[in-house]
Amino acid sequence: MSKKVLTTPIKDEDLKDIKIGDIIYLTGTLVTCRDVAHRRLIEEKIPLPVDLKGKAIFHAGPIVRDLGNEKYEIVSIGPTTSMRMEKFEKEFIEETGVKLVVGKGGMGKNTEEGCKKHKALHLVFPAGNAVYAATKVEEIKEVHWKDLGMPESLWVCEVKEFGPLIVSIDAEGNNIFEENKVEFNKKKEEQYKLISEQVRFIK
C-alpha cells in the first residue's frame, strides 16, 4: 500500500475515501492550537490571527528554541490529550474551516458532529514521539499569541509527510475510540469476574 499524503489546502473531496483506522501523512501547514486558543476563539470571541481554512491544527505544546531575530526551532513536539478541546471543537471547525484536527486519544460526540457536518478528520499522532515529529517540521513560519507562553502559543509550522496520523474520527462521524471502548469494557467485566474470585484474601 502506498503512503497516503494529504497536502494543504485540503478540500472536502480529499477526505471522501478515508476511514477510521487508516493512516495518512500531512504536508503543508500545521498550526499548534490548544486549550486557551480554543477558549479565546469560541468563548471570548477573539478572532484567530491565522487563517485555518483547509489547513490542520495540532493539539500540542512544543519545546521551542529561540534563535533570536524572530527565528525559532522546534526541539520536541507532540500531541496533548484532545478530549480537553472537545467542548469547543465543533464550533471551532465550523468557524475556522479547519480540515484536520491532530491530537492524542479520542474525542466525543461534539467533534463527531463537527467532522460529519463540515467534512473534517480527527487524527492521532502517536504521543511521546516528539523528536520524530520535530524532524518532520521543516520550518516555523510564524508565531502568534506569544503572551500565552511557549506551550500555548500558536506555532505555524510547515511540515513534510508529518505522521503517521491514525484516523480516529472520519468525515462520516465514525469514531474508532468509541467503538473500541465498547469492546474494552466488555472484556474488562469478564476479567473482573475471573480475577475477583482469586483474590479473596480476607476470609
Binding site: K104, P126, A127, A130, V131, Y132, K187, K188, S196, Q198
Partner: protein, 303 residues
Amino acid sequence: MNVIQDKTQQKERMIELMSKFISIVSYKLPDDVENKLKELSEEEDNRLAKIIYKTMFENQKLASELKRPSCQDTGVLQFFVKCGQHFPLIGQLDNILRESTFKSTKETPLRHNSVETFDEYNTGKNIGNGTPSIFWEIEEDSDKVEIYTYMAGGGCTLPGVATVLMPGEGYEGVVKFVLDRMTSYGLNACPPLLVGVGVGTSVETAALNSKLALMRPVGSVNENENAAKMEKLLEDGINAIGLGPQGLKGSKSVMGVNVVNTARHPSTIGVAVNTGCWSHRRGKITFDSNLNYEISTHKGVTL
C-alpha cells in the same frame, strides 16, 4: 572556613552531575522499559500497533542521538530520595535538587511545567512552590544517597486516583478500582502502561505506595505471595483487555503491574492507582560521600 568552602564546591559539583542526569533521563528510557517495549512489540500482531511501536523506536533513537527530550512533556520532576544519615550534603539536598532541575531545564531544554496554583501563572522556570516534588527516607548508618528521578507527564499523571474501601469490599474491590481506571483514563495515558497500585491504610499512604510502585523495575515481583499473585492476575487481566499502544488496540496493554503495600487499620483498605506511560522516564543514581556516582537504570551511561 575551609570546610564551608568545600561544602559550596561539593554542592556545585552535585548540581552539575544531577542536572546532567536529569537531562539523560529526558532523552533515554531506562533499560527495563526499553527491553520490555521491545518484547511487547515482538509479540504484537495488530497492524496499527506495529506501526506505532516502530515510530516509538525510531523516536527513541533520534532522541538519544540528538540529545533532545524524547517526549515534549518532560513532566513535573519528582525525586524519591533515600539519604544516609551521614551523607555530607543531607541538609543541602532539597536545594540541590531544585537547582539541578532549574539548570537542566535551561540546558536540555525541558518544558516549563510549573504553574502556581490560584495565582495561575507559569513560573517559566519549571520549578515552583513544592515543585520539583521531593520525597524523603532516611537511612541509618549510611553515608550514601539514592535518588530516583522521575518525569511525571500530564497524560500519565491524570489517571491517578485514591480511595478508602471498606474491608467488606475486600481485594475484589481493589481489583475493580484498578480495572475501571484502565478503560476510562488509562486509555489516554499512552499505553503500554506501567501500573502502580498502592495498598495501605489511608489515601495518602496508598497514593505514595502507588508512586513508589512505579519506581520499581518492570518485571520485578512483590515479596508478599498474595500481592505477587495479584500483580500477575492484574497484569494478565489488563493485557486481556487489549488496549494496545495509544489505546488503539493491540495484543497487550501494560508493561506490568507493580504493587507496593503497607499495613492498614482493621476497618479500612486504602488503595491508589498511578500510571507510568510507555515513555516512563525514571532513573536511579546513587552518590557516595565523595560524590562518586553509580547509575543503575541506564547501563553504560556516564555523566
